[in-house]
């Protein structure tokens, strides 16, 4: 499998009142085609900045992001970013939101494609609803569907489930895994939830506190569907938490 995303020597710092603030320091890694890589790190460590650089919204001070062998300079529909607070347009219906990114189709086909993806994420019957009529979990599904509609090669997910309650987060995660098993996207997931990372990722990178550097990397060799309560999963979890500075998990 060739490498889909190559991150080479990324650096980013901001000017602040206290002087120069280094947010991301010399991060390099690769993501293979079809792989799901989770990045975990303490809050405020620069994860979001890292993701925004990889997705093309923020320019790095130094280093490069290479996607399919070409340097990434700006965002494009081949890689869709999904964030914690979401960006489903509140003034459009679910169907209109899903049709938003579809270019070059006849209007009738657009609606058909949109409805097809709404059904995939379990939003059948809600195509004409407005976002404010949906629950948080449904909104997240709508956002996922809107990304999937344009057939992106990469999904960039920045804390996508953090705004959901634990049960809903688990449900949407299962939904995501089911879709990934069928459509084989490359996924980069940023999270502070170690369990979530173990649940979905093939590989987990642990970031250090600011400035963010890659501190450790773990493979997650368990086949899907995963049992997070298994001894080996728990072992991995303890090991990752130790990297994050939490030695005594669960007292």
């Amino acid at each position: 499998m060739h490498s889909k995303i190559e991150v080479r020597g990324l650096n980013k710092s901001y000017e602040s009142d206290q002087g120069r603030l280094v947010v991301v320091e010399d991060i390099s890694f690769t993501v293979r085609d079809g792989e799901t890589v989770a990045i975990v790190g303490p809050s405020g460590c620069g994860k979001t900045t890292l993701m925004n650089m990889i997705a093309g919204f923020v320019k790095p001070d130094a280093g490069a992001i290479v996607i399919d062998g070409k340097p990434r300079l700006k965002p494009d529909p081949k890689g869709i970013l999904i964030t914690q607070h979401g960006s489903v347009f509140p003034w459009l219906t679910v169907r209109e939101n899903l049709m938003f990114g579809l270019n070059g189709h006849a209007p009738r086909n657009k609606a058909e494609i949109a409805d097809h993806y709404a059904a995939i994420v379990g939003l059948k019957g809600f195509e004409s609803s407005y976002p404010h009529e949906l629950s948080g979990g449904m909104l997240k599904r709508a956002e996922l569907a809107r990304a999937l509609v344009v057939k992106p090669e990469v999904l960039y997910m920045d804390e996508p489930f953090s705004a959901l309650d634990a049960l809903m987060s688990l449900r949407v995660r299962n939904e995501l895994l089911r879709i990934l098993a069928e459509e084989r996207h490359t996924v980069m997931l940023i999270t502070h939830d170690v369990e979530e990372a173990i649940h979905v990722a093939d590989r987990i990178l642990v970031l250090s506190p600011r400035p963010a550097r890659i501190q450790a990397a773990f493979d997650v060799p368990f086949p899907h569907p995963r049992r997070l309560t298994s001894a080996s999963a728990q072992e991995l979890r303890v090991a990752i938490l130790r990297e994050l500075g939490v030695d005594h998990y669960g007292g």
Binding site: A55, F57, K74, P75, D76, P77, G79, I80, L81, T83, H85, G86, S87, F89, P90, W91, L92, E96, F100, G101, N103, Y130, P131, H132, E133, V150
Partner: protein, 252 residues
């Protein structure tokens, strides 16, 4: 039933004010200031001879024309200023300086430029309502949540789609707020403008009633009618908040 209950205190205050007014007239035996009943009979007189409708129509027509012109200019201009930084930096200081000038101060210039016909009050209404609408529209563009613009950028949509499906719907609720403010100011100004040398309109009616024999019953009737029309203009603007395109803004 509940509505009646909640509006009871307000109705009580109105009744008390009317009673105090009546009492004061009886006590002072004023010959000029009318009783509430005098105002009612005055209003009936205006209704009966048809002059009231003529004045209301004249005022509404002026407000409608001036306000519509202002909307046509302010919304595109506000969108442009909100989107293009250069336009904002160039035009905003001028508008911020013109905005606090009372429309009343424009009256001499309006008369100089447009004479004493209908054009003067229309111009005054335009000038008074155009600035708040420009400002609200510009603010509306500036406060579009960045994540929506990012999403649009991410999906790589055309400029036309970006405006049609993101910028304009996102700004529409703010435009509506601007229109509410603009229409309120326009109604204030038309009455003031009509007090100067016109032969129709509610402002003219008030001044004319005083000049032609101290008919204070008609003056007060006119004032109350202005208040009622202003209130209904505002509530019809508020009704617009329920239309499909902006309901999302108020739904949370």
């Amino acid at each position: 039933m509940n509505r009646i209950k909640t509006s009871l205190p307000a109705l009580g205050v109105i009744a008390a004010l009317l009673l105090a007014w009546w009492g004061a007239i009886v006590a002072t035996q004023s010959l000029i200031f009318p009783t509430p009943w005098g105002v009612v009979t005055g209003a009936i007189e205006l209704l009966a001879n048809g002059t009231l409708w003529r004045h209301i129509a004249a005022s509404l027509l002026r407000v409608g024309t001036g306000f519509a012109l202002a909307v046509c200019i302010a919304v595109p201009l506000g969108l442009w200023m909100g989107w293009v930084r250069g336009a904002y930096l160039t035009l905003n200081p001028i508008f911020q300086m013109l905005r606090p000038i009372s429309p009343i101060a424009w009256i001499p210039i309006a008369i100089l430029w447009f004479g004493v016909g209908d054009a003067s009050p229309i111009y005054l209404i335009f000038i008074s309502s155009v600035f708040p609408m420009i400002v609200q529209t510009t603010v509306g563009v500036h406060t579009i949540d960045k994540r929506y613009l990012r999403a649009a950028e991410n999906f790589g949509v055309s400029r036309a789609t970006l405006f049609k499906q993101v910028v304009i719907p996102a700004v529409l609720p703010q435009v509506l707020v601007g229109m509410r403010i603009g229409l309120g100011v326009a109604w204030l100004v038309v009455v003031a403008a009509e007090m100067i040398a016109l032969r129709s309109g509610l402002g003219y009616m008030i001044m004319d009633s005083r000049n032609a024999g101290n008919r204070y019953d008609l003056v007060i009737a006119g004032m109350i009618i202005i208040g009622v029309i202003g209130l209904s203009l505002d509530s019809s603007m508020r009704r617009l908040e329920r239309i499909r395109w902006v309901r999302w803004r108020y739904a949370q």
